[in-house]
């Protein structure tokens, strides 16, 4: 209820219940009055009919106060309940920090595109800097000047090697099975079902084994590395290493890269074997091929070159996954959500790296005639 008093003040009469559960009241009518000419001399309140109130009232009053003062109109709060007056005083006790809010102001589209571009550039620079640092550290590793704990390395090897066997077995057996299944359906038309062995064997050994192992390890170890390093950052464990003169790159990143790069070729070999086993399962149960025939056909199709090529790819994937995981972990912001973001980003980054590398390898191997 609004009205003017005789001496030109705006009188706001508040009545009834002012509860948050009833929603926040609109200040538009008050603002219209404030903007009207002649402008009110000051703002007064009358609350004899006000029944009950909570933060809804205080929020409303704070907004009215801000709008009035913005127009140079005084607000006389003496008509308000004592509790509301005290809360308002409290809310205004500390002046707003000027640039605390400015930083979060809405940016225009152009500004956002600009800042995204800049941050993409920075992130690329960071990635390259990290890669450079890691390479230098590896240079020192070969010179014997890198310090990390051997027990850490052994534990990591166990984690990314032996403990990953279960999931790699499952995935690769199934992928071999699927490959054989799809291949069989096509080859049956020509009565050439025996070539399922070639298809599965070559595909698994050349590419799919390494790729599947890499994707499993990206989700498994890349994420684990990022989460571990990220939370070490949150708890300042990384800071503690740095100030102690121990490079986190030597102490944390190098053993992870070494572990993954050395285990991935072995996992790949195992993945190849399990994939072929999956193919053989279909060959024997569905296509009535004998174990010996299938094995014979596979051995004839797969060359040592295929096998070594696949293992080399796996080695490279291992380095990429470890790098991506560690990079994202070390970049994590110091909060629990930061660790979550780092983990997600580590998996995405490593899969992107792995698939890009896979494409690159395909082109290079083709050009080299391998």
């Amino acid at each position: 209820m609004l009205g003017r008093t005789a001496d030109g003040a705006l009188l706001i009469r508040l009545a009834g219940a002012w509860r948050l559960s009833g929603g926040l009241p609109d200040t538009a009518p008050v603002e219209r009055e404030l903007a009207a000419t002649p402008a009110p001399r000051e703002v007064n309140f009358e609350t004899s009919e006000l029944e009950e109130w909570d933060s809804a009232l205080v929020t409303f009053l704070l907004r009215v106060t801000e709008r009035s003062r913005g127009r140079g109109i005084d607000v006389d709060r003496s008509g308000l309940p004592a509790g509301a007056q005290r809360l308002l005083t409290l809310a205004e006790a500390v002046a707003e920090k000027e640039d605390a809010r400015a930083a979060q102001a809405d940016a225009s589209l152009l500004e956002r595109i600009g800042s995204r571009t800049i941050s993409a550039g920075t992130s690329l620079t960071e990635m390259l800097a990290f890669l450079g640092d890691a390479t230098l550290t590896f240079g020192r590793l070969l010179g014997g000047g890198v310090r990390f704990r051997r027990s850490d390395l052994l534990l990591l090897i166990q984690q990314v090697g032996a403990e990953a066997l279960g999931i790699v077995s499952l995935i690769c057996f199934l992928v071999g099975l699927i490959l054989a299944f799809v291949g069989a359906a096509q080859l049956q038309q020509f009565g050439a079902t025996i070539y399922v062995a070639n298809l599965v064997g070559v595909a698994m050994v050349r590419d799919v084994g390494a790729l599947m192992a890499a994707i499993v390890m990206a989700g498994r170890s890349g994420a684990a590395f990022a989460a571990e390093l990220g939370s070490m950052k949150v708890t300042q464990e990384i800071d503690a290493l740095t100030t102690m003169g121990i490079s986190p790159l030597e102490f944390l990143v190098v053993p992870r890269i070494v572990a993954l790069a050395s285990m991935m070729p072995l996992l790949c070999l195992y993945a190849d074997f399990l994939g072929i086993l999956g193919g053989a399962f279909i060959g024997i149960t569905m296509l009535d091929l004998s174990v010996v025939t299938y094995a014979q056909q596979t051995i004839e199709a797969v060359t040592l070159g295929h096998l070594l090529g696949g293992m080399f790819k796996a080695f490279v994937y291992g380095i990429l996954i470890a790098l991506a995981g560690c990079l994202r972990g070390l970049q994590a912001t110091t909060s629990s959500s930061g660790v979550g973001i780092a983990t997600t980003s580590a998996v995405v980054t490593s899969i992107v790296f792995v698939i890009s590398a896979c494409g690159l390898f395909a082109v290079v191997f083709y050009a080299l005639g391998l």
Binding site: D99, Q236, E237, D239, A240, T243, G245
Partner: protein, 257 residues
């Protein structure tokens, strides 16, 4: 020219991007001081500490350790300078995948030529100095927060540092544990002769241990007072400093007396 003070900060400006946190910081930490960096929450005390140990780079200004310019030193030289520095982080920051003994032992393995058995012995000594004898093979998550802080202290003093930095040593501790930690800090300084720099807003600690201090004010974004805390409380001209320090009159008096 920088004199014989242990740490000299000249004209330091700290900023995150364009956001200036503190500017025009100028102070000296003398040898043997217990130097308190105080101020309200969020004014940049811990950030200042991060600058002092090289975790953040100053936007402007320089930091000297003795006569040596720390800010312009290269990475290798910084590592050397930091070898005489021990840091107790706010959360303890123990390496969670290692036992307490391994935590204390790591700096010893890295920077001394001791044999493993000797390292183990020194690590046990450091742990017993902070009252954790017998906890060598516990992991950080198996002990309480106060014990983690003390274990962090044991690690910080592993290499007998000349300067010890403490970031909010009493944060998250009950009054008794935090009093004990204060006593321990005093005791260790006495016996090791180290310079101590403490970041804190705990008045009881400030008066109990501080021999010199600076006061950071978030509104003017600079230091508005420096001197021994007791003197600041009684004689400071600045109402903000007096208000901050006198709030502790009731709680802090017993400790002071």
């Amino acid at each position: 020219m920088p004199g014989d003070a242990h740490i000299i900060v000249r004209d330091l400006t700290m900023a995150y991007g364009d956001f200036v946190l503190m500017r025009d910081l100028d102070f000296r930490v003398e040898r043997g001081d217990i130097f308190v960096i105080m101020g309200g929450s969020g004014c940049g005390k811990s950030t200042l500490l991060r600058h002092l140990i090289g975790l953040n780079e100053p936007a402007k200004g320089e930091i000297f350790y003795g006569r040596e310019n720390f800010t312009s030193a290269d990475r290798a030289r910084r590592v050397e300078l930091l070898r005489s520095v021990g840091v107790l982080y706010q959360s303890g920051a123990l390496w969670s995948s290692m036992t307490l003994a391994e935590n204390v032992a790591l700096p010893l393995q890295e920077f001394t030529d001791l044999r493993p058995a000797q390292i183990r012995e020194v690590a046990s000594l450091k742990l017993s100095l902070v009252g954790l004898r017998g906890f060598e093979d516990y992991y950080p998550y198996q002990i309480s927060g106060g014990m983690q802080k003390r274990a962090g202290l044991a690690r910080a003093i592993a290499l007998d540092p000349e300067v010890l930095f403490f970031d909010e040593p009493s944060a998250g501790l009950d009054p008794i544990s935090s009093k004990r930690l204060d006593d321990l800090i005093l005791e260790l300084r006495e016996s090791m002769g180290a310079t101590v720099v403490v970041v804190t807003h705990e008045l009881a600690s400030i008066f109990a241990i501080g021999t010199n201090s600076i006061f950071l004010d978030p509104e003017t974004r600079t230091m508005i007072a420096s001197g021994p805390p007791l003197e600041l409380r009684d004689r400071s001209q600045d109402p903000k400093v007096r208000e901050f320090l006198r709030r502790g009159r009731i709680g802090g008096m017993e400790e002071v007396a």
